[in-house]
Amino acid sequence: MHKLSARLRALPHEAGLALLTVLLLALVTSAFPRFLTVDNVKSLFDDTALLIMLAVGEMFVLLTRSVDLSVAANAALTGMVVALFNAHHPGAGIVPVLIIAVVMGGALGLINGLLVWRVNIPSIVVTLGTLSVYRGCVYVVSGGAWVNSGQMSPFFLGFVRVPILGISVLSWIGIIVAVLAYLFLRYTVPGRNLYAAGNNPNAAAYAGIDVGRMQCMAFVLSGAIAGLAGYLWVARFAVAYTDIASGFELQVIAACVIGGVSITGGVGGVVGVVLGGLFLGIIKNALPVVGISPFFQMAVSGLVITIAVILNAGTYRKSHGRKILERAEAGP
């Protein structure tokens, strides 16, 4: 019984957001009926997969009362490095590329994590710094030059586009990351500890959870996902240049916030983040086709996001974090 009521209390935010997303979709489709064609929806998923992946990574960090501003810069640096690797070793195949992307992204995340955990610097300061460092390193490794589609191997560009059951590998990777993140947070001890560390660090510490270590782990996860997203980004747009994903960290954080992740830690879930990412993705893809002047697009997208957050604020306040231990039913 308690289980059910807890579920119901947890439901409204995601349900409300899902309703908003459907409403937005209906609005767009009424203005531009071809928005809902199969091809268009596929390309919408492709476009949103990157945002959702990065937002899921960001959520891990936000849950621990930290913030990772360096995700986009991490993706840019890792994307550039794998593009250069591919340009110099065109026959290496996809496996080393994926390994480099994930390991390097994770390592860059680990730098953030160690600075937060061991050196005890606030995460916003650490990642604001590493944002510039990573972005600057893109110039260093590339010398400011682009890696162009002509220099990339067919497998490097083609991997993300292979359709499996009608959906591209890029979309599948987005789905897999989201599902794994859901299972991790729901069914593993470290996943639950992330919530505890952010929701009430003092209590968590008394319960034997190393809060700093949880933060560090969140940064590594966020970094590894960002690294993978870096490769996917470069392969999708077929160019690696210094401004890859420039300013994208703000959209990533916006997707989390719309999805109901609290920036004060401990609150949020994968379902919300996926919906938040989709919501933003629909706005980004709809604005060019519904005929809003390009001069107003930025303001309109900001307005829609703000409205979404305000509409969600009601359910937002009600939730007091996730209950980690559900009350055991009294025995017979």
Binding site: F32, S43, D47, G143, G144, G150, M152, F237, P288, V289
Partner: protein, 335 residues
């Protein structure tokens, strides 16, 4: 060097400048004209190509030595040091692609005070700091070229075209598009249906191009006067499997567009030819050293013909050079 040290050195040099300038110049080996060619930064393929053209012109004119140099990063401070060292080497002319139009003015003035002919190319120095500026092209020439490119990519010269520009506030792109629209009446087959902005970002440009393909099923050509926009649009056309139905054209670098030309999404595109630019810069610099007046005059530039400079000293070299399947690979190696 800290600021005070710098000012001291500068003052000292300004004081000494008058003396060596008086007798150092005649003491030099007669005849040879030395040109200091300053890049925005070293290691940039564009400027390597500029140098290639300069060497070609130097050989053609004869008895001209090109000293190709530049800072390691694109900073005005770095260029000031480089120009100072060129002054110390007593070159006859300096041509600069400026990292900052105003910061270089004092050092350029000092060079001119010592009889060195200073000009800028590609990226201008403010009028006070140079005799002439050679732009690779002009808004007028580029705007017209965009119309021509669009018409050339249209089968039969008739159909819908759309623009994927940089940001709504990009000065250059807006000026080009304004000229393009102005001359559109000369191309009755061109039907410009939309102007969109990809903000010089690959993802935004890709999204805008994809939206254009959805919104205008009969669209024939996407024109992008942005080097990011043209490759992103080309990729969007390839991903939408519309190669052969929709062509992308505009301004881009050969190395960046080569893959898409081979894939068939770009038939032809244009950009100024840096080799020709270096060639023209060398001719113009030598003209100035030989005592010809720049502003309000036309200066001969070898195979490029005469280049007209207005009263502010600004001249435009030529219409952007068109690249296609036949020459893109060759230029892709250069820049």
């Amino acid at each position: 060097m800290d600021r005070r040290g710098f000012i001291k050195t500068t003052a000292a040099m300004a004081g000494v400048a008058a003396i060596p300038a008086a007798f150092a110049l005649p003491a030099r080996a007669a005849g040879e004209i030395r040109l200091g060619l300053v890049a925005k930064s070293l290691g940039n393929g564009f400027f390597v190509a500029v140098d290639k053209g300069a060497e070609e012109a130097a050989k053609q004119i004869g008895n001209v030595k090109v000293i190709f140099t530049g800072p390691t990063s694109t900073t005005a401070e770095g260029q000031i040091e480089v120009i100072q060292s060129l002054i110390d080497q007593h070159v006859d002319a300096i041509a600069i692609s400026a990292n900052d139009p105003d910061a270089l003015v004092p050092i350029c003035k000092r060079a001119m005070a010592r009889g060195i002919k200073v000009m800028s190319y590609d990226s201008a120095v403010s009028p006070a700091g140079r005799i002439v500026h050679l732009a690779p092209s002009s808004d007028e020439l580029i705007g017209e070229a965009l119309d021509k490119l669009a018409a050339a990519s249209l089968p039969g010269g008739k159909g819908q075209i759309a623009l994927v520009s940089a940001t709504p506030t990009s000065t250059n792109q807006n000026a080009w598009i304004a000229v393009m629209k102005q001359h559109l009446s000369q191309y009755p087959g061109l039907d410009l249906v939309a102007t969109t902005y990809g903000n010089d970002l690959a993802d935004d440009s890709y999204r805008e191009a994809t939206a254009l393909l959805q919104k205008y099923p009969h669209l024939k050509v996407i024109v992008s006067p942005s080097s990011v926009g043209i490759v992103a649009s080309a990729k969007a056309v390839e991903d939408a499997k519309k190669v052969g139905q929709v062509y992308v054209t505009g301004l881009g670098l050969p190395s960046e567009c080569a893959g898409h030309v081979m894939a068939g999404s770009i038939k032809e595109f244009a950009i100024w030819n840096p080799i020709d630019l270096g060639y023209s810069v060398t001719y113009v610099a030598v003209d100035l050293v030989k005592g010809m007046k720049g502003p309000g005059n036309s200066l001969p530039a070898g195979k490029m013909g005469k280049i007209a400079f207005n009263s502010d000293g600004i001249g435009a070299m030529a219409v952007p050079f068109t690249y296609d399947k036949s020459n893109v690979e060759q230029f892709a190696k250069v820049f």
